[in-house]
C-alpha cells in the first residue's frame, strides 16, 4: 500500500519539531522549562496559592492538549508521542512548573496508558510532598454504555471540561472545589463522532484502519478505535440527527435549559461541513427549546488528517456558565 502524504522531515522527530515550532510561534503564551522538552507551560498561568491544572496526553490531537495551556485554562501540558501517553517524567516536569503550593489537578482523557503514566507521576510528586489529584474525562458516549460511564473515553468535550476547571483554578478556588467542578463539568458533557476516512501515524504513514470509500463509522474514537456502527455515508443532517438524538437521549435537558456546543473537525473535514452540521444542531436544539449559550466550530480535538467530525454538548447550569464565560488566553483558544 502507498504511504500517505505528509509534510514531515522524519516521522520519529515529528512531535519534537512541532513543539519547536509552537514555542517559536507563541513565545508570549508558552515556554518550556530547562531539560523538560515535553512539558509546555503557560507564561502567565501558574502563581502562588493557585491550584495547578496539568493536562496532557498523546500528540496528534492538536490543538488538544497544548493549545489549551494559558492563563485562565491549563497551567501546563505534558506531551506524549503520537497517540501515546507521555511518560511520567514530563508529567512531573509540567506539575512542578504549574505548582503554586495549592495542589495539582491532573486532567486527561480516560485511556489505560494515560492513567498508568499520570498515576506514576502522582506517586513521584507525592515523594516531593506535592498533592496531585486526578479527574479523567469520559465524554465519548459511543465508547461504553451509559451505566459504565467510568469506562468511557475522553474526546473533544475535553475543551469544555478543562475550561470549567481552569476557570475555577484561575478564580483561586481550593483543590477540593476545582476537583468538584471538574467532575461536575465532565458529568454534564457528551460527545459523539463520525469518521469518514483514516488517519496515519507519521512513523508508518499507513492508514491506521480500513474504511472503504462511501462508508462512514459512527462513534469512532480519536485514535481510530472502532465505533458503534459502520454504514454507507449519509447526509450531514442525517448524521447530525443520529448524534444529536444520542446526546439528547442521555442529557436529560428540559425546555429552557442552556448548553454549550462544539462541532469539531477530526482533522481534514473543513469548516464548511462543520457549519452545515452546526446549522442542523441549532435547528434541532431550537425545536427542543434548548438555548445555545455558546458555540465553538472548528478543529479543537483532531486525529491528525482523519476526516470526520464530532459534536459535543455541555449541559449548562449557572456555575458551569460562569466557568465557561470566564476569560482565558491560550495560544490556540481565547475567551473574553
Amino acid at each position: 500500500m502507498d504511504q500517505t502524504q505528509k509534510l514531515i522531515n522524519d516521522g520519529n522527530a515529528a512531535v519534537d519539531e512541532m513543539l519547536t515550532g509552537i514555542i517559536a510561534a507563541h513565545p508570549n503564551h508558552l515556554w518550556r522549562p530547562d531539560n523538560a522538552p515535553r512539558a509546555v507551560v503557560a507564561r502567565h498561568g501558574p502563581r502562588e496559592g493557585k491550584v495547578g491544572l496539568v493536562i496532557g496526553g498523546g500528540s496528534g490531537h492538536e490543538p488538544t492538549f497544548l493549545g489549551f495551556v494559558g492563563k485562565g485554562l491549563a497551567d501546563a501540558a505534558a506531551v506524549g508521542n503520537v497517540f501515546a501517553s507521555p511518560p511520567p517524567q514530563p508529567v512531573v516536569d509540567a506539575a512542578l512548573a504549574a505548582n503554586g503550593g495549592a495542589g495539582i489537578l491532573f486532567m486527561y482523557g480516560n485511556y489505560a496508558g494515560d492513567v498508568m503514566n499520570f498515576d506514576m507521576a502522582a506517586e513521584m510528586l507525592e515523594m516531593e510532598s506535592i498533592e496531585a489529584r486526578t479527574v479523567v474525562t469520559t465524554d465519548d458516549i459511543a465508547s461504553a454504555p451509559r451505566d459504565a460511564r467510568e469506562k468511557r473515553r475522553g474526546v473533544a468535550g475535553n475543551v469544555f471540561i478543562f475550561k470549567a476547571a481552569g476557570a475555577a483554578a484561575d478564580m483561586m478556588m481550593s483543590l477540593d472545589e476545582v476537583e468538584r467542578i471538574a467532575r461536575h463539568a465532565n458529568d454534564r458533557t457528551y460527545t459523539m463522532g463520525v469518521a469518514l476516512s483514516a488517519c496515519s501515524l507519521p512513523q508508518t504513514r499507513r492508514p491506521n484502519f480500513e474504511l472503504p470509500v462511501g462508508e462512514m463509522e459512527i462513534g469512532m474514537g480519536i485514535h481510530g478505535e472502532p465505533g458503534v456502527r459502520r454504514g454507507p455515508l449519509q447526509s450531514a443532517n442525517a448524521v447530525t440527527d443520529e448524534i444529536v438524538d444520542a446526546i439528547l437521549g442521555e442529557m436529560n435537558a428540559k425546555a429552557g435549559d442552556s448548553v454549550a456546543v462544539l462541532v469539531n473537525s477530526l482533522g481534514s473535514t473543513p469548516l464548511m461541513e462543520l457549519y452545515i452540521m452546526h446549522a442542523r444542531v441549532a435547528e434541532r436544539l431550537a425545536a427542543a427549546d434548548i438555548r445555545i449559550h455558546s458555540a465553538l466550530v472548528g478543529p479543537y480535538c483532531t486525529s491528525m488528517e482523519m476526516a470526520g467530525a464530532s459534536i459535543s454538548v455541555m449541559h449548562l447550569d449557572d456555575e458551569l456558565t460562569t466557568m465557561l464565560d470566564h476569560p482565558c488566553d491560550c495560544a490556540m483558544f481565547r475567551v473574553g
Partner: protein, 203 residues
C-alpha cells in the same frame, strides 16, 4: 555458563532488533483492534532500553535492568512504557546486585516480569492482554519446564487471545468485535519470552 552483565546487555539488544524487525507486523495487528501504534512503542521502548543498558559500564544486573526500565519508560510512555518499566525493575530486583548469576535465574526473570506487568496493569488472565502470554510463561518457568516449552506456553497464550473478548485497554471498547484478532501486546510478549528462553537455553 553463567548469565553476566554483558549477556544481559546483548539480550536487550536482541530484543530491540526483534522489535524493530516486527514493528510493522505488530502495528498491523494493533490496527485491527486498537490504534495501530503498538509496534512503534515496542520498537522505541526496546531500542531505548538497550541503549540505556549499554551505557551502564560497571554496574550489576539490577543496575542494567533499572537503566533499561527508565530508558523504556521515558522513550514511550503509552501503556507499554509503565508495564515494561515495572517488569524490568522487578526482573532487576529478582536478580539482585550481582554481576553474574546462574543461567537458570532467567526463569525468575520471566516470573518477575509477569508479576510486575500484572501489578502495574491491574489485569487478570483471560482479559486479552499481554498477561495472557506472560502468565502461562511464568507458570511454565516456575514449574521447571525446559526453555522451548516456556516459549511455547507464551506463544500458545498469545494465540489464544484471538478467542478472547478484550476487557481492558483500547480494544475493550470493541466488545465482540475484538474476537478473531490476537492481542498485539500478547504477541510481542511471546516474542520477548522467546528471546529470554533462547538465553536460558544457551550454555
Amino acid at each position: 555458563m553463567d548469565f553476566t552483565t554483558s549477556d544481559l546487555q546483548a539480550l536487550l539488544t536482541d530484543l530491540a532488533d526483534l522489535m524493530r524487525a516486527e514493528r510493522d507486523h505488530l502495528c498491523a495487528l494493533d490496527g485491527a483492534i486498537g490504534d495501530a501504534d503498538h509496534g512503534i512503542a515496542m520498537e522505541q521502548g526496546m531500542v531505548a532500553a538497550a541503549a540505556a543498558a549499554r551505557e551502564v559500564t560497571d554496574g550489576t544486573l539490577q543496575d542494567i535492568f533499572n537503566a533499561a526500565a527508565k530508558g523504556f519508560l521515558n522513550a514511550v510512555g503509552a501503556s507499554s512504557g509503565p508495564l515494561y518499566a515495572t517488569a524490568f525493575m522487578r526482573a532487576g530486583k529478582a536478580l539482585g546486585p550481582e554481576k553474574s548469576v546462574p543461567r537458570d535465574s532467567l526463569r525468575q526473570v520471566i516470573v518477575a516480569m509477569a508479576e510486575g506487568i500484572a501489578h502495574r496493569g491491574k489485569a487478570e488472565a483471560g482479559q486479552k492482554t499481554m498477561l495472557d502470554a506472560w502468565l502461562p510463561a511464568a507458570e511454565a518457568a516456575s514449574a521447571g519446564a525446559d526453555p522451548s516449552a516456556i516459549a511455547a506456553a507464551a506463544t500458545e497464550g498469545a494465540e489464544a487471545t484471538s478467542g478472547m473478548v478484550a476487557a481492558l485497554g483500547r480494544a475493550a471498547r470493541l466488545g465482540d468485535r475484538s474476537l478473531g484478532h490476537p492481542d498485539p501486546g500478547a504477541v510481542s510478549a511471546a516474542m520477548i519470552v522467546g528471546v529470554i528462553c533462547k538465553a536460558l537455553a544457551a550454555s
